[in-house]
């Protein structure tokens, strides 16, 4: 029996300023493709159309357009930064295609032509700050990449901190891809914040964490870096002294102890060997491709309208747990975890939400919250 070959665009930057994230994402997507293509019972196979925009925002739209028009792709698994996603959205909307976006982002968007599998602020920043503000203190130092992700997360963090009676002692930005971070360390040393929120992306994040590690070696009581987008990949290759003690919120960590994740990691060990650590970008793209292939199987077609009906009608088991996608917002309900990094660059889980949190991309409900986080009576605020 011949199988239908379905082309799917994989659009991640595997070169450029956040290439490490892109390479892991491509690997994740390809792992999901391999699973369906090796399944003899499948009536279709996926043909990966891989393009590398090189981290240049303007190239994303051109490549997405070409994938849809000349290579008949009706689905694009791709984009990491909001800058690039916003370049691709008009293209998929124009052609009736579907963009599968699987990374944490700042919210304030809900396109019918996109599926949002990454966390938005009520699923990452708010739970992170609910944990951090009562435990570490109210004086935050914010660093971020200089585009909408950094700006908007900073704005929400400021509102949340100020509603708790705290203050942002500094709010600094770095061009995407820049590794000039010494001035940030100097300012942190001078202002002595209670914690640092990093919204840096890719090599900027790694450079900052590394430089902060050097600073911390000679500074007692240096506060932690906290982030909504720090994963194992950002700590890989850094000196061991720089890797530990950072708090990250994520929908997945390699060490997630669940039957689904153990089974997934066992499969990935067969494919990539036991040394390969599964990072959040790998898992995210894997999940997107995996849900797409199961939806194609259910629908018997890759037509975006039919796929949207399927994915918003039922729950999908994933290594991060069951995922349900909201029909109106096209956002996934996700279960955020909080991890603390150690010297190996892995994250130990500190706490997890009891259940999946429904996405509130416009912070309509969270905006009405009048319940600033409470300082636990038994915990001392570390100054």
């Amino acid at each position: 029996m011949s199988r239908t070959a379905i082309p799917v665009s994989i659009l991640y930057s595997t070169t450029g300023p956040y290439a490490a994230l892109g390479r892991d994402a491509v690997d994740g997507a390809m792992a999901a493709i391999a699973e369906v293509n090796m399944d003899n019972a499948s009536r279709f196979s996926i043909v990966a159309m891989i393009d590398d925009p090189g981290g240049r925002a303007e190239d994303y739209a051109v490549l997405a357009d070409a994938a849809i028009r000349t290579r008949q792709c009706r689905h694009i698994i791709g984009t990491i930064t909001s800058w690039s996603r916003k370049e691709v959205l008009p293209v998929v909307e124009r052609h009736g295609a579907l963009l599968w976006y699987a990374f944490p982002y700042e919210g304030y968007e809900a396109s019918d032509s996109a599926v949002y599998l990454g966390a938005c602020p009520n699923q990452h920043l708010l739970p992170l700050f609910d944990h951090v503000l009562p435990r570490y203190g109210r004086r935050a130092f914010i660093v971020g990449s200089n585009y909408i992700w950094g700006w908007e997360i900073s704005r929400i963090a400021r509102e949340r901190t100020e509603s708790f009676g705290g203050q942002i002692v500094s709010d600094r930005y770095v061009p995407l891809g820049s590794t000039e971070v010494d001035h940030l360390i100097a300012e942190i040393s001078q202002k002595k914040p209670d914690f640092i929120l990093s919204n840096l992306v890719g090599q900027s994040a790694s450079a900052f964490i590394s430089a902060y590690g050097e600073y911390r070696k000679n500074t007692t009581g240096a506060p932690p870096i906290v982030a909504c987008n720090m994963s194992e990949i950002d700590l890989e290759g850094l000196p061991t002294f720089a890797r530990h003690g950072h708090l990250s919120t994520s929908i997945y960590f390699d060490r997630l102890e669940t039957p689904e994740n153990r089974a997934f990691k066992a499969r990935m060990t067969e494919r990539h060997g036991s040394e390969r650590r599964i990072t959040t970008p790998f898992l995210s793209a894997y999940t997107a491709m995996s849900i797409l292939t199961r939806a194609i199987s259910d629908a018997g077609t890759d037509a975006p309208d039919a796929i949207c009906k399927i994915i918003t009608a039922r729950s999908f088991d994933t290594p991060a747990g069951p995922i349900r996608i909201d029909r109106k917002t096209h956002h996934a309900a996700l279960r955020p975890h909080l991890g603390l990094s150690d010297e190996t660059g892995g994250f130990t889980l500190l706490q997890s939400a009891e259940e999946a949190v429904v996405a509130d991309p416009f912070l309509v409900h969270a905006g009405q919250r009048s319940d600033p986080p409470v300082v636990p009576a038994t915990l001392k605020v570390v100054k």
């Binding site: 303007e58 909001s82 916003k86 008009p90 124009r94 304030y108 909408i148 700006w151 908007e152 704005r155």
Partner: protein, 196 residues
């Protein structure tokens, strides 16, 4: 229905403050169809372009210091080009004094209505600012009204009601504001004397 005066678009010069992008080409096409002369610039608008009749500016990547005028005091209608509907970006566009907006992506429509709405909003903001300035002047002149009433009570006799009546009639007869009339009374302008 109020008939509004439409701006003479064919004589207009528009500046698009945006990096190179297909949307800039789409917007330029729309504006040139209206016979508007178009200049594109990025990342700054220089003083020579401050004479433009309208400025379209990027709200997504825009930042302070791009305009050669103080924040919010553009000397022409300005129109935000919005892709990210994030509150931070919209607030930034509002801080610049945006009179209208166009949502990205930009296709073949939208610019004309944005131009008319922005031109109207800008005129209204200007008119209201003028009104506020006049009212503030009048508020500043209030002490002179009190002084004028006291002056009339002392020099013309009669009661407070008569003094007010006198003040109002001076203002009416000479086509002045109450405040200007009061000032004239205090400096003994001969037009303000009884029977004048």
């Amino acid at each position: 229905m109020t008939r509004r005066i439409r701006p003479p678009l064919a004589e207009w010069h528009a500046v698009i403050l945006h990096r190179e992008h297909p949307l800039v080409d789409a917007l330029r096409r729309q504006l040139e169809l209206l016979q508007i002369r178009v200049t594109v610039c990025w990342p700054h608008l220089d003083e020579a372009q401050a004479t433009a009749d309208v400025v379209f500016f990027d709200a997504d990547m825009g930042h302070d210091g791009q305009f050669p005028w103080p924040r919010g005091l553009a000397p022409m209608p300005i129109i935000a080009l919005i892709g990210s509907e994030a509150p931070g970006r919209i607030e930034w566009a509002l801080d610049q004094g945006s009179n209208a907006h166009l949502l990205k992506p930009i296709g073949s429509t939208g610019a004309y209505s944005a131009l008319l709405i922005a031109a109207h909003a800008y005129q209204q903001v200007r008119a209201q600012a003028d009104d506020i300035r006049v009212l503030e002047d009048r508020l500043r002149q209030r002490p002179i009204v009190v002084r004028a009433i006291l002056h009339l009570l002392q020099n013309e006799g009669g009661n407070e009601a008569a003094a007010w009546k006198h003040l109002r009639s001076v203002a009416m007869n000479w086509g002045m504001t109450i405040e200007d009339a009061a000032e004239a009374i205090c400096r003994n302008d001969k037009r303000t004397r009884s029977g004048a």
